[in-house]
Amino acid sequence: MASNLVKKYFREDHLPHIWCPGCGHGVLMKDVAQAVENLGLDKDKVVLVSGIGCSSRAAGYMDFNTMHTTHGRALAFATGIKMARPELEVICIMGDGDASAIGGNHLIHAARRNIGITAIVFNNDIYGMTGGQYSPTTPYGEKGTTAPYGNIDRPFDIPKVAEAAGATYTARGSAYDAVRTTKLIEEGIRHKGFSVIECASICPTYYGRKNKKGSAVDMFRWQKENSVSVEKAKTMTPEELEGKLVIGELSRSEFPELTEQYQKIIDKVQIK
């Protein structure tokens, strides 16, 4: 028994999912389904590619053409799919470690090429599936099982990294702000080049417990109280923005999309 949206876009026999109670990923996965529904896409023309990690289980639960690949390589497989079948909507769901550590190289080069893929990063600031090791997005000073005295690295700002590498659309949403996040994902899918939507998730089991963030409800509340819209952020100082979650469309630029450029070369050199 499920809602119409869940019946349409999920493999109901694979539910309930195995994510922990209160995990933000469940909310974000539904936002992806809602975005596809709002855009009126044919779900048989949508390909969902994932890597490895908690986030990447989405490819098993969602009823599109799906591919659950190796750790960090979702974008590499997705690049192959998009190059072979440019008419398909290719969406990657990745985790923070998956996208920015193990697959960091794929992320920057997919961005550099501006290939028409929508990269959605479920960022819970930790490696959840393997037991709470700190990731490239774990905030400075916060704890993980491999950072028992606090993380001494600076975290990546994934949308900034992607923008600097050439992504032509970047945005940040959150598990709390589901309605806006759905809209940002819609925009990302609609955008022709490479788009990156970082979605701030919550991991009450590992990140939350290690850092004494309270229950899932407390963590959602933290997101509610510490989210700042892009518009508001423009009026704030860097000190005021410290520790805040800036939500909204972060950047948009123009550059020819890779598969279109490639088709032009084929048309030019192919013997008729």
Partner: protein
């Protein structure tokens, strides 16, 4: 044109008892009974759908009904 009436539906088998829906319900319609969600004040429900949006486990939603 008036929309169809909606009612709250639960799939308790999918509920993991995180309590997020109850905590963010603006009208106190929901509460945990044991480890699972329960509708405790259906008459107060304003059909805002926040519980459906926030439930990470798709265990609660609004469904259109013919006669409410």
């Amino acid at each position: 044109m008036a929309g169809k009436a909606k009612k709250l539906v639960l799939n308790v088998g999918w509920c993991k008892g995180c309590g997020v829906c109850a905590a963010f319900c603006p009208k106190g319609v929901l509460d945990l009974k044991g480890d699972k969600i329960a509708i405790v004040a259906e008459d107060k429900c304003i059909r805002c759908g926040l519980c459906e949006i926030r439930c990470p486990d798709y265990a609660i939603w609004l469904e259109e009904v013919e006669n409410a």
